[in-house]
Symmetry: C2
């Protein structure tokens, strides 16, 4: 279509295609679905997205998202400040919070060390984590990073940076077979880990 | 997450999940990708989407999208106004335009008759099509609708509404095997149609 209407559509397609995993066909589908909606629905859509940038900030302590200077988890007096769970991104906080199994606080790295993607330690929120350890009374750091070479080496890198005299317990979330999964369907590496890290009946 | 930051995030997820085929996990991925972007990038994204509603209108003749009262195809003096291709939606116009094989004009129905979805003839742009036939000198109508029962019965319904005295040729796009496809992979119905509608070598 060489008409001017298509320029507006093209621009919207270009923008939708910037969303992760969205190709031009899907972007067109999204754009057409917007055209079909009522004005107030589109306004609601735009406002909700714009609020993500205008109303959300990064927590000055843990880099979680929040409305103010500090996130609700760091603010919450009932959260155990002596246990910090180190995660790659905000999505991981949401996932762990959904389990309801963790009452400590978090620290968002913003990724993992990955030379292939040109992400070094200085691109991550590692300095602010180390600073926290000096200022707060931290007893344990739980690494909840991806079960990949990058995740493991990031945890290793950080663990080497933590002064031994602070006497902080370092741990990583358990690797093992998924609940409900059959052994057959579990890859050998995970199955191997699950045997090594077996838990005792008490 | 029972924190207030998540309300803003939740709202954005709700809105992204309204896009066709987007679940809550994908919506979260989209929302987080927006948070990560720079302000100007997000502004560009929002402007492009908002332009879809503010700057695009429906063509008063064919219901295609356009910036003014009439779309560029209907306005174009080089398009053959005597041939109308009837399509379900704007996406179909884009698809046919990409082929470069059609120099006529279009009429967008906005869907097909589908009792199961409670879409009757009055929900579609059929009356405006019939009005066009009275006002313009139309020689042929090509139905380019989905190769489904609904598509076929919509074409049949419209064809019955067209006064015979107008002497308009009615046709439908050919059904046959896809170019490059092997016969093996073509379903029997399509293959059957392709034999019945065989084309002669000249």
């Amino acid at each position: 279509m060489e008409n001017s209407a298509s320029k507006i559509l093209e621009r919207a397609i270009d923008q939708f295609a910037l969303l992760p995993g969205v190709g031009r066909r899907t972007a067109l589908k999204y754009a057409l679905s917007i055209i079909k909606r009522g004005d107030s629905e589109v306004t609601r859509f735009l406002n909700a997205i714009s609020a993500l940038k205008t109303d959300l900030h990064s927590c000055s302590v843990c880099h979680n998202i929040c409305e103010d200077d500090m996130c609700e988890i760091c603010k919450n007096p009932r959260r155990d400040k002596s246990t910090i769970c180190v995660v790659e991104n905000i999505k991981d906080i949401l996932a762990i919070e959904r389990t309801g199994q963790f009452r400590g606080v978090y620290h968002v790295l913003g990724g993992v060390i990955s030379p292939i993607d040109a992400i070094g330690p200085n691109d991550l929120n590692i300095a602010s984590l180390l600073a926290r350890l000096q200022n707060e009374k931290v007893e344990e750091i739980i690494f909840a990073l991806s079960a990949t070479v990058e995740g493991d080496s990031t945890a290793f890198y950080i663990s080497k940076k933590i002064p031994a005299e602070l006497n902080i317990k370092l741990s990583a979330i358990a690797k093992g077979i998924s609940v409900g999964n059959e052994l057959d369907y579990t890859d050998e590496l995970t199955l191997g880990k699950s045997i090594i890290n077996r838990t005792l009946f008490k």
